[in-house]
């Protein structure tokens, strides 16, 4: 059972830390920092389900986040739904789309799938930029009334923060649960040798479609919450290609295939990026540095940071997964 894994309790401790730190002394700027870290962890953890577990690169992972944001903002603003309900519905809608879509494109093997995901990103962005109900390229704005139902803007922002932290913890728990399940074993088999896995009775197409749709759910919920917090959305910020790319850097940096690796990579990279963006000389070059980092990891340390830790302390595998 998952409750018996020590790492499960570590995840809860991390989440508790995220909640306690900014509440202590009502530190709003710390909260804004941590929210970005949490989003990075959510994206990297869910991307890990595809890249790390199944061995399929998804270059357009940000599509889920952006679409979730659009559906969420549409429901809260135009339909006046409650925040939690619309975030959940956004998650369900996006993952159902991902499942149906996955059934089609996941017949494609390895690299072909990766190419298709680049196409999906551009196609979805083109679609949303032309879609009238979502404000085409100008996007949508949140009406201020939406904050009222949560007890004013100040409280609404705190509530959104707690919800995002919950999604972050859930992302890691889902990763952990899948890693320790029969379903997860099937995914690992697909990663190692898809033909052999199929011969041994793994229904690869369905498995891949399921994991694709699972990896869509929480980022979509997070997108709905995050764009509710920001109060506006447009196609260029919702489907920020760079963030999609940086998600891959985060994951590879931390260590693909490992739950803590994805989270660690997300947190570290986000810190690095905010440092680079504020440093005057380096701000123009943060993409170059990210690319260089990715290249180094791919060429010299395919296991990432956590792979290095595992090599130093093999017993660590049992505790931090």
């Amino acid at each position: 059972m998952i409750l018996r894994r020590p790492f499960f309790w570590i995840i809860l401790l991390i989440a508790a830390g995220f909640i306690y730190a900014p509440l202590h002394g009502n530190n709003v700027s710390l909260r804004e920092d941590l929210i970005l870290v949490a989003i990075a962890i959510i994206l990297a953890s869910n991307l890990n389900l595809m890249i790390g577990y199944t061995g399929y690169v998804n270059f357009g992972h940000i599509v889920f986040y952006g679409l979730g944001g659009y559906v969420g903002l549409y429901l809260t603003t135009v339909r006046n739904w409650n925040l939690v309900l619309s975030a959940l519905v956004a998650g369900v809608v996006v993952s159902v789309c991902a499942f149906l879509f996955g059934l089609a494109i996941l017949r494609l093997r390895g690299a072909y799938f990766a190419l298709a995901t680049i196409g999906i990103l551009q196609a979805v962005q083109a679609f949303v930029s032309n879609f009238d109900p979502w404000g085409r390229s100008t996007g949508m704005y949140l009406s201020f009334n939406s904050y009222q139902s949560l007890g004013g803007a100040r409280r609404a922002l705190w509530i959104t923060y707690f919800l995002i932290i919950a999604v972050m913890a859930l992302s890691m728990i889902v990763s952990l649960a899948i890693k320790n399940s029969k379903f997860g074993l099937g995914l690992f088999a697909i990663r190692e040798d898809e033909d052999a896995a199929v011969v041994l009775g793994v229904n690869a197409t369905v498995y891949k479609a399921i994991i694709y749709s699972v990896s869509a759910f929480l980022p979509a919920v997070a997108g709905a919450l995050m764009f509710f917090k920001n109060g506006m959305i447009d196609p260029s910020i919702a489907f920020e290609y760079m963030l999609s790319l940086e998600g891959i850097v985060m994951l590879m940096l931390g260590g693909q295939g490992s739950v803590i690796g994805a989270a660690l990579g997300g947190a570290l990279y986000e810190k690095l990026r905010s440092y680079l963006l504020t440093a005057p000389v380096l701000s123009n070059f943060h993409l170059v540095i990210a690319g260089g980092l990715l290249l180094m990891v791919v060429l010299f340390a395919p296991g990432g940071l956590i792979g290095w830790v595992y090599r130093l302390v093999p017993r660590a595998r049992k505790v931090i997964e």
Binding site: A111, Y112, G119, A126, I248, G291, P302
Partner: protein, 292 residues
């Protein structure tokens, strides 16, 4: 109706340039089984290479294609030794990620140097050029005709190189079976680096040609990268000349649909085509069996 015909002809002209870009992608993919994700960035570099050369010397843009090819070859060799050599033969994931990392670095540097604002190459004041041809109410711009001719000439030159020269034959041998080629005394490392450099040079050249047709930014490469993927999939892997034909087909298709719908829908249609072709013909329409 004749409007559609004119649009189709223009589509075919532009399609030849798409085909040239796709040839580069297809060559690298076919020879070393690496999907070159620096493709879009290299197309963008070609655009800026042409921009810089043309603002320095006002001779014909089509003469400047030659130095662009040279620049492309050099960049190709550098990128090969930086990111590709170490991952050839390893899992697809690794080569995707390493070329992708180079892509990020190039785009990052490009954004820092040129920002993301649009540039264009103004061909009006060049010496050597083809005049616009007017048929009835429609004008076919000389630039488009000249770009298409250049693309076809370069494609024919590549075809000649691959089928008639010793190096070209070595490249095809390595693409067919690397081990057997090595047993015959071909140095596969040299061949792979040459093939990669040629692939990059083709991307740069097509970028240079695109820059003479449309305004561009450092990020424009991504659009043509998607088109190149579509074209390569249509043509099947390792068939460079097939890529040219498929490029013309894609241009024709764009020509047919642009009079009827907004241009911003085109990525969606191309992507739809891409998925349909991939799912229906996983090995390419006229391709050999791919090892993905």
């Amino acid at each position: 109706m004749s409007g559609v015909l004119a649009s189709m002809i223009d589509g075919v002209l532009v399609g030849a340039v798409y085909g040239l870009a796709a040839m580069g992608l297809s060559l690298i993919w076919g020879v070393m089984d690496v999907i070159n994700l620096t493709h879009g960035a290299m197309i963008a570099l070609g655009m800026f290479c042409m921009y810089l050369l043309f603002s320095a010397v006002h001779i014909s843009a089509y003469v400047l294609l030659l130095p662009t090819i040279g620049v492309g070859l050099v960049i190709g060799i550098v990128v090969y030794w930086m990111a590709v050599h170490w991952v050839v033969g390893r899992s697809m994931l690794m080569s995707l990620l390493s070329t992708f990392a180079v892509n990020m670095m190039v785009i990052g540097i490009g954004t820092a140097v040129w920002s993301t604002s649009p540039y264009n190459v103004n061909l009006d004041n060049q010496k050597l050029k083809i005049n616009d041809i007017t048929v009835g109410a429609y004008t076919f711009t000389g630039n488009h005709i000249a770009a298409a001719i250049s693309a076809v000439v370069i494609a024919l030159a590549l075809q000649f190189f691959l089928y008639r020269t010793r190096t070209g034959k070595a490249i095809r041998a390595v693409a067919d079976n690397r081990e057997a080629a090595e047993l015959m005394g071909i140095s596969s490392t040299a061949v792979l680096s040459i093939a990669f450099a040629i692939g990059i040079a083709l991307a740069c050249t097509s970028g240079a040609l695109v820059s003479t047709l449309f305004p561009f930014t450092i990020l424009s490469g991504a659009v043509y990268q998607l088109k190149s993927f579509v074209v390569t999939i249509l043509a099947g892997l390792g068939k460079p000349f097939g890529a040219l034909v498929a490029g013309v087909l894609l241009g024709l298709l764009e020509g047919v649909i642009t009079p009827f719908i907004a241009v911003s829908w085109i990525p969606l249609i191309e992507f739809g085509l891409f998925v349909v072709v991939l799912v229906a013909f996983p090995q390419g329409i006229f391709g050999k069996r791919a090892t993905a």
